[in-house]
Symmetry: D3
Subunit: 66 residues, 6 copies
């Protein structure tokens, strides 16, 4: 009964999210031998100002690189 939380930088389409849910569920089934209906996945959209890497947000990093 795996439970997955997946944090993503915001901006993914519903189609990408659907593919992610499907592919990751299949990956759990193959690796762990669990039934697909036992796999629960929560996606979490993270805004660029809320995702920090190396001491700055992705928002600031992208503005600097623009």
């Amino acid at each position: 009964m795996p439970i997955l939380n997946i944090a993503l930088i915001e901006g993914r389409s519903n189609e990408q999210k659907e593919a992610l849910i499907s592919e990751v569920t299949d990956a759990c089934v193959r690796a762990l031998g669990v039934k697909p209906e036992t796999v629960r996945i929560l996606l979490q959209d993270i805004a660029t100002q809320d995702f920090g890497v190396a001491g700055e947000s992705v928002r600031v990093k992208r503005e600097r690189q623009a």
Copy 2:
């Protein structure tokens, strides 16, 4: 000093959330013998496209069943 994260499919009213916070805090007090003021609860609204069960999102499942 229990800390709870509760992920819910979006759409709950403030009244339901208030009841949930109150009832779950009481449950912790009864089961653990802690003081209510030490219990912290974070509610997380999950959009239907962000909640995956059995390899598809709740959004797709509901559209298919509509």
Copy 3:
């Protein structure tokens, strides 16, 4: 389909954990009107050196107060 993570300072007995799972599930059922079998709860034991409040760990706080 609520999913709950509950972080607790280590040391709770299996009986207390069982009571917590039972009471918190009932609380979700009452407040949200969901079926009990849709409620999933993960308990997380936190060691006293891993729980920080007010800038120090519970381990150090307890040693100071002993």
Copy 4:
């Protein structure tokens, strides 16, 4: 830069965990078009007394079914 937390009932071998990390990373690469080195995964072993479904722990459920 997806970050995944995966909660599993304890008892998986290192080989199963390695397969899970590899398969889930590939799934993220295919669904999101990200580079594998940006994917970070945290596995969390949950003891059977710490995983509650339908108001009781997996520990109690298994004992009842034994």
Copy 5:
């Protein structure tokens, strides 16, 4: 390679969030001796109706105190 999730009551400005990411990353570097580029931080804005303390939400607490 520390990964931090920081839950905050909503309402912080981008400048406060940027300062938080910068200061917390520096704190990890000093305390753990890691390189800043290995530190990843996710900020999570929690609405006042979604943050419960002592059995009620911060929304209700603030209305009562207003």
Copy 6:
């Protein structure tokens, strides 16, 4: 009332953890203007076989590099 979860690869001493709790709390106080006693931090030790980067665990990566 910030709540922080910090995932670390296992092996940190209690002294490093204490320094981390102290430094990160101070960082929150400086960046957000909150009182130290409102800051709660949970440290989570992640075993090397449970931390995946780029499709493999840190356990396997370290064995390969040894």
